[in-house]
Symmetry: C2
Subunit: 649 residues, 2 copies
């Protein structure tokens, strides 16, 4: 039946090759009775009787009543066969959110069970020749290649499995591993190397299911908090890149080992890895000196996708395993953005979508099915909490949400590690041992946006004492005012300088998006995807109040979470996705912001809150519908006839 | 001029790509005057004037008067150009002995100097794209591929070399290394893994010259002296093969490092390695469990040539380097024999040549231009001095040559470590600190052959007391006699059991050769090549007296020395040689001695000295011309009418 199904193009799953009846993947059911539309009648006798092989499988693994194994059941007349979803080859999908597309699980590494003819004195062909023959006969695999490391597992597997083995084959014809007997599960590791954290996802390559996840701080932090300082370190230290490469690889290996252990598998069970990261993380991981990326004209050593031996990059998973690095797009638009493209698929969107991945720099993609543009904007690390007086990374104790009372100007906030607002009962207890240690990126954005909403910051970005009667929340020194966010200790302020830093960063981000819209020829976007941890915690309303992102229906602004990591997982599970992204990056139009005069024009214009030249009808609508206390103040936004705030820079 | 030469198919050498005038490889001379046969006249003015580039090269590196650089000289009229040998591309040859063929140096890795266009803000293509473009433009290299390890050297080289670099390209289009500026020398390592010793040869890949050599004991010896005991160890120990692999790789790496250091180069200057060894050494080196080779039906895991990443086999030479293992031929006929085939080239011989490589087993090849046959004969380790009462490896203190006085029966011998015979003046002094410690393979062969010549051993292999009057040199115990080779201490005997061991071994060797001759359809061979250290020390006359090898004109019996190692060197230096041996091994007819009934017939027949069924006219002639003292005794051989010695078994 399996053969018949293949002939008519119905792919029924099978690991054991379809004629051993041992893997049980090919379960099907017979539908009996008359099928007038098909013009046939199906009798139970139209299939061969339930066989010994099927009974053996049922006794060992269980088999639902009525189920048959397609590889042993023989067709003896007209039949109507039901193939349940779990027996279909292209059954599995990876879907991150309801609004993202489904991806078929079709990994680059596949398992094949084979039974080899044992050698005799008259047939002394090599093990590899025997294996080639079996794989060709049973799996139509031709021209099998292999490397020494993969071959090393073969003789032991043949001896232990008594010439019955399962092999892992990569890209259709490359032998990478062999195990005795039948093996049905294989694992892959998606690696997302962020400047701050490294995250891995362990997947079952058959089902596509996530079986483990883990994350650690990127230990390169000790060589510099941000990318620029790490590149500086490399410039100044002869062994710099080697050190940074070594610590990153070591951390990844340890993380992989811990994640595998938690999932109850061995590192050697992992046969494939995928890697995303920004260009500098990508280069350092591969051992490539990133100096070209640290200065104009910002060139990559390599942008294409690479499949390197995992052992060559310190990843001691299965010795035959490979690590696939997603392609980079441009000097500041890396394999992380390629991952975002894979998971968010703007190239499959009919709407014009803006994808923003905010890290040390913002990587921005705009487009739709017809055309994609990408650029990077030099936002600096402000949005990560750096270069902010009370700033810190998004870690325990960091203020991540802020609200300011429009009447009293009193702040309330939420802190990472607690679910309570600071004015709720039990807040102090909830942060015992954690404390309030600083303000992270999303916190500072909300704080500044709220300060603007309540009139503590004017449209030009000046912190003003106008509304302050008693200076309970505002500290004045000379002509400059700072806002007291938390009494402390430590006392946390949003200073005038902080607001200026946010202005610079948000203007850069907006200008990048605007430049892409300009080049694309649109005045607005239909959907905005905020990728990265940053996007997850940030309130789209506040981002729009600041003028970080262009105007858009707020319900169409979504946080994609770790979209780059999700893309690494898709590339891990889908061979087609790799071909897709490799093709796609070549078609992305790269816009170099530094080379564009318009970028600087937009940048200057975008310094104001929300800013000078563009309109924000969606934002105005949202604020109009918001809580009454804010309505009055949002007049400033709605009433375009009032020039005052815009002049007051 | 370089372009013109290439157009008419004259390959002038060049590393710098032919238009930079910096490598000076393309030196040529102009011949002036009238050339009536060519119908032209050549004036000095027909070449562009001596240029600044040429002057710069001359001042820096020297340039013979009259020499021009073909890459900068321009043709302005009819010219007649002399290309000196050193400026020709296919100039170099590898020739081991006058009677072996020449091999053109054409290594798999080649150097190419290129100057890349530096990036600008308007041209942000990657380093790799730039490199591809330059290699295509200047060297016609298309579809350049690379792996991560090779790429790692690229950015640093580009920065240091200011966009002028030299790259190493493997197999025409695979980038494996990059260095700043012009680099003209590259090195390769030929590795010969013997059961007892490991030898390496370090070669300049440009000239083909040997720049270093080294050898060490194979540290696997601590797991077993011979192959069988090592395979037994692997069978009994779960980590067996890993241990043996690890110690061998470590020894090779250390040997490579020492040899490189002696030659004044870095390990990283070595960009390619080749490996030969018998099937078990070959498998263990690659980390392949050799258990299939330790028992019938003696199958290999893999027989084809492999190119593995050098780092994958513990060889930390250049990170982009590969190790190429020559193909194996059959279960007992390994990559070492492939090396012998390459260096001795029986497939290019018009004569029928027998090539014998004696180690623990003898690997035997017979054939000519038309046809090649190979087999392995189970000689056991006797010829290596094992399983002999006073036997030892060929090392300091081992008796390697033996002569017995036909009158007095007194032995004299030579010992490894001394150039003197034992009866020469100063012998005792010459071996002070060494001593006489045992008898190695060639020593035992000569001893038994001499014993036969002087009548101490009869044709059937019995040690006889007949000729002994005073028992000064023969010890009798019951009916058995042993010959005292050295008074000691330690006293060294050739016992009756030793003679039987030699009989078994030599009969196996002869039977293998005879079986091949049978299958080939010849009764005699025209040339015999004795490969391996064994062949170097062994006297062909004694080998023939024993009946180890078939009859052959003694002047046509040559010792090839380490022919397997020489083959590894040829494969290192010649890409064509690799293709040749990969093709050739497929055409070798493998004869399985164990499966052949005739082998056993020949084996039994070959037990006698020299032996029963064959004639040895060449040997008889040789003995007839030998020193008078032997003439009388050689009557036994010459006079076929005397059946006595042959019956006396």
């Amino acid at each position: 039946m399996l053969e018949a199904a293949r002939e008519i193009g119905v792919d029924i799953d099978s690991v054991c090759g379809g004629h051993h009846g041992i893997c049980g993947r090919c379960q099907v059911s017979l539908s009996t009775g008359a099928f007038p539309k098909l013009g046939l009648t199906c009798e139970p006798s139209h299939l061969s009787p339930f066989s010994d092989d099927e009974a053996r499988y049922r006794d060992k693994h269980g088999l639902l009543t009525g189920r048959r194994l397609a590889c042993v059941a023989r067709i003896a007349g007209d039949v109507v066969i039901d193939v349940p979803p779990e027996s279909q080859v292209h059954k599995q999908i990876v879907r991150k959110r309801p609004d993202t597309r489904a991806v078929e699980v079709d990994p680059v590494v596949r398992l094949h069970y084979v039974e080899l003819t044992p050698p005799t004195i008259d047939d002394q062909r090599t093990d590899l020749v025997r294996l080639r023959e079996a794989l060709q006969d049973e799996w139509d695999i031709v021209d099998l290649t292999c490397d020494g490391a993969a071959l090393a597992g073969l003789p032991g597997a043949l001896i232990e499995g008594q010439w019955k083995i399962t092999v892992a084959v990569r890209e259709g014809n490359r032998l990478i591993a062999a195990w005795p007997g039948l093996r049905e599960r294989l694992f892959g590791l998606a690696i997302d190397i962020g400047t701050t954290t490294i995250a891995v996802t362990l997947c079952d390559l058959d089902t596509g299911n996530v079986v483990g996840e883990g994350g650690v701080m990127n230990p390169q932090i000790r060589f510099g908090e941000d990318l620029i300082s790490r590149v500086s370190y490399i410039q100044l230290s002869p062994l710099g890149v080697r050190q940074l490469t070594a610590v990153a690889r070591k951390a990844i290996l340890r993380l992989a080992a811990d994640t595998a252990a938690d999932a109850g598998i061995e590192l050697a069970d992992i046969v494939e890895a995928t890697v995303v990261g920004n260009p500098i993380m990508h280069h350092i991981f591969l051992g490539l000196d990133p100096l070209g990326l640290g200065r104009a004209p910002f060139t990559l050593v390599v942008d294409e996708a690479l499949a390197v031996k995992a052992t060559d990059v310190g990843l001691r998973i299965h010795p035959g395993a490979h690590a696939y690095t997603l392609p980079c797009i441009a000097g500041h638009v890396g394999a992380d953005t390629a991952g975002v493209l894979l998971s968010e698929a703007p190239h499959e969107s009919d709407e014009v979508v803006l994808v923003v991945d905010v890290g040390t720099n913002a990587e921005i993609v705009l487009g739709n099915r017809g055309r994609l543009l990408a650029c990077s904007s030099p936002t600096g690390p402000t949005f990560e909490g750096a270069q902010i007086s009370s700033g810190q990374r998004a870690a325990l104790g960091a203020i991540e949400r802020v609200r300011i009372d429009p009447e009293t100007l009193a702040p309330r906030f939420r802190v990472i590690g607690s679910d309570l607002w600071s004015d709720e009962e039990g807040f102090e207890d909830s942060i015992a041992g954690i404390g309030v240690t600083g303000v992270c990126g999303s916190g500072i954005i909300e704080a500044v946006a709220e300060m603007y909403l309540v009139g503590l910051v004017d449209a030009g970005g000046r912190v003003t004492g106008e509304r302050t009667k008693d200076y309970a929340h505002v500290v004045r020194s000379g002509e400059v005012y700072d806002y007291l966010l938390h009494q402390g200790p430590p006392a946390l302020y949003v200073t005038q300088t902080d607001v200026r830093s946010i202005q610079l960063a948000k203007a850069a981000l907006y200008a990048g998006a605007r430049l892409l819209m300009d080049n694309f020829g649109v005045e607005s976007v239909e959907r905005i995807v905020l990728a990265g941890a940053f996007g997850t915690y940030m309130d789209p309303l506040h981002a729009m109040i600041l003028g970080m992102i262009p105007d858009c229906d707020l319900s169409r602004v979504v946080a994609a979470g770790n979209a780059a990591g999700a893309g690494a997982r898709i590339a891990l599970l889908s061979r087609r996705a790799r071909a897709e992204i490799e093709d796609l990056v070549g078609r992305v139009e790269k816009i170099e912001t530094a080379a564009e005069k318009r970028f600087h024009k937009y940048f200057v214009a975008a310094m104001a809150f929300p800013h000078r030249d563009d309109t924000f009808p969606n934002l105005e609508r949202a604020l109009a519908n918001a809580e009454p206390s804010r309505l009055s103040h949002s007049d400033r936004l709605v009433d375009k006839s009032q020039p005052a705030p815009r002049a007051a820079r």
